[in-house]
């Protein structure tokens, strides 16, 4: 810390006033707590929790189909609408995507995190760290947009696949029902790639943090007891770092569930939860249905968080 000249007290009266305020506060930690916590807590409770509460209330109202007005009477009718087959499909599709993206991210992130935590020299580690942090914080929209350029039919990836002579394979994959489409940029595969890409850093950091905490001595003990490297990895490193994977999955799962930018930029026009919420509240003004739709991911995430807490994932955050 650099030296700072601390000015002498200006005047006696001013200082004694401050002094008595200080003394007064020192003996009243509760009051200090209220003063400190009051503003942020009030803000979060009123703006954030209050809004979530109002959203919950709204999901029990319904939209009168004839007048187009929201009827403020308690009803489960709006929730019942969620169980219409087409809406159930939206949930299934979104959850399947979230699971696929989470698994892919874990598989890609683990080797990199492992390398960072156990093998990289301090200098190289901080370089890699920066190379992970920049994508983590930098514009997510821009990074999704990049895939629109890459996956376009006339774009770089198709060009590259053509150069390698695998256009036939690409066409075969795109012709598969369920995941295919007219081009990579307009198919579930394209969405899957973009989702995996944008959320990858959220998986790397917690896994790396968890791996850093696995003591070297345990690995050495395992090796001394005759375990092969893979056995050590499978029976010692993986179980101990698993909370990191769970912590990362909180983000990859939640972010995929609520996103509408990727499906709107890259998907075929099949709906995902985020798009459904956006369109119900926007064009049709059906806030109750949008609210009920949102409660899906919210409930899933709260259950997920409660389970994750049990595995010790919050310590890896």
């Amino acid at each position: 810390m650099q030296k700072t000249e601390i000015p002498m007290r200006p005047t006696a009266t001013q200082s004694s006033l401050w002094r008595s305020v200080s003394n007064y506060l020192y003996y009243r930690p509760r009051l200090v707590l209220v003063l400190l916590l009051g503003p942020p807590l009030l803000f979060m409770l009123v703006v954030y929790v209050g809004s979530l509460g109002s959203l919950l209330v709204n999901s029990f109202f319904y939209l009168d189909g004839f007048t187009g007005k929201i009827v403020r009477h308690f009803t489960l009718q709006t929730y019942a609408e969620l169980f219409v087959p087409s809406n159930l499909d939206i949930f299934k599709r979104t959850i399947a995507m979230a699971i696929a993206v989470t698994v892919a991210d874990a598989l890609i992130a683990f080797p990199l995190a492992h390398y960072m935590a156990k093998y990289a020299s301090p200098r190289r580690k901080s370089l890699i760290y920066l190379a992970v942090l920049i994508p983590l914080w930098s514009s997510y929209l821009v990074r999704v947009y990049a895939w629109r350029l890459i996956l376009a039919k006339e774009g770089i990836l198709t060009w590259f696949i053509g150069k390698v002579g695998l256009l036939g394979a690409l066409e075969w994959i795109l012709s598969l029902p369920g995941i295919g489409g007219t081009s990579l940029g307009l198919s579930p595969i394209g969405m899957f790639i973009a989702f995996t890409y944008v959320w990858l850093p959220f998986m790397i950091i917690p896994i790396q943090t968890a791996l850093e905490r696995v003591p070297r001595s345990l690995e050495e003990a395992s090796a001394d007891l005759g375990a092969k490297p893979f056995q050590t990895f499978r029976n010692v490193i993986l179980p101990l770092s698993f909370p990191g994977v769970v912590a990362g999955s909180i983000f990859t799962f939640s972010l995929t569930l609520g996103d509408f930018v990727v499906p709107l930029s890259l998907g075929n026009s099949k709906l995902f939860i985020g798009m459904a919420v956006l369109s119900h509240q926007g064009t049709s003004g059906n806030i109750p249905l949008a609210a009920a739709f949102t409660m899906g991911p919210v409930v899933i995430m709260i259950i997920y968080l409660l389970i994750a807490r049990r595995t010790g994932a919050f310590d890896a955050l």
């Binding site: 942020p40 809004s51 109002s54």
Partner: protein, 275 residues
Amino acid sequence: MPSRATSPGRKAPLPLTVTAVAALLFLNIPVLIIFLYAFTTDESTYTFPPPGLTTRWVSVAFGRSDMLEALWLSLGVALLATLVALVLGTLAAAAVYRTEFFGREAISFLLLLPLALPGIATGIALRSTIATLNIPFSYWTIVLGHATFCVVVVYNNVVARFRRTSGSIIEASMDLGADSWQTFRYVVLPSIATALLAGGMLAFALSFDEIIVTTFTAGQQETLPIWIFSQLARPRQRPVTNVVAMLVFLLTLIPIYFAQKLTTQAADTEGQQNA
């Protein structure tokens, strides 16, 4: 504290190195593609390789008044949201760090929610509330939405710093005759200054390119991300969008880079600060 377990001479198995490098490339190359396309002469498709290169799109982009308006709005929103977050986030961090109290766990959980719940939940919740209260959607409602997650970012950074700062220096300062203000100004503030700066910069970057919550809390206004998103549907002058996307990326890169420098200087590559 994670132990620094790297021992010299420990070589990574080749497959691990290869997959790690592949992951790093996957993480960092795609954005560079935008840089290339910002200079293509191809106006309406994404042909690769580009038929030619030109710098004229930069001047075209800065001549577009709709883009400039969006840019100023985004900067204004990010600035105010960051200021609000700095004040509220620091207060919350000081409270949670200083004292044990009933409900402290609940408050840390509450402060995790805006990041752990899908942004769309925050967005639609705010929108329905604002609409119910008949508040017009404006600059202020955008700031309000951004402040929720910016507060959390600042809080995370500052509380991590508080945990590493010994509480006894505050007591020592008081014992040496400093009053609360002097202790805050000359002891507490210098020790959390870099965490404040780092948290503030990250909050700024996060707000500057936020789109999900903004879509719900903005009325007719277009922030820069919303402007980019609305351009996606237009096939003409695509390179202009690419120039702006490049600009947004570079503008967020600078604060992130410095925030990272500040945190590593303070914590010496600890790998702790988190989203």
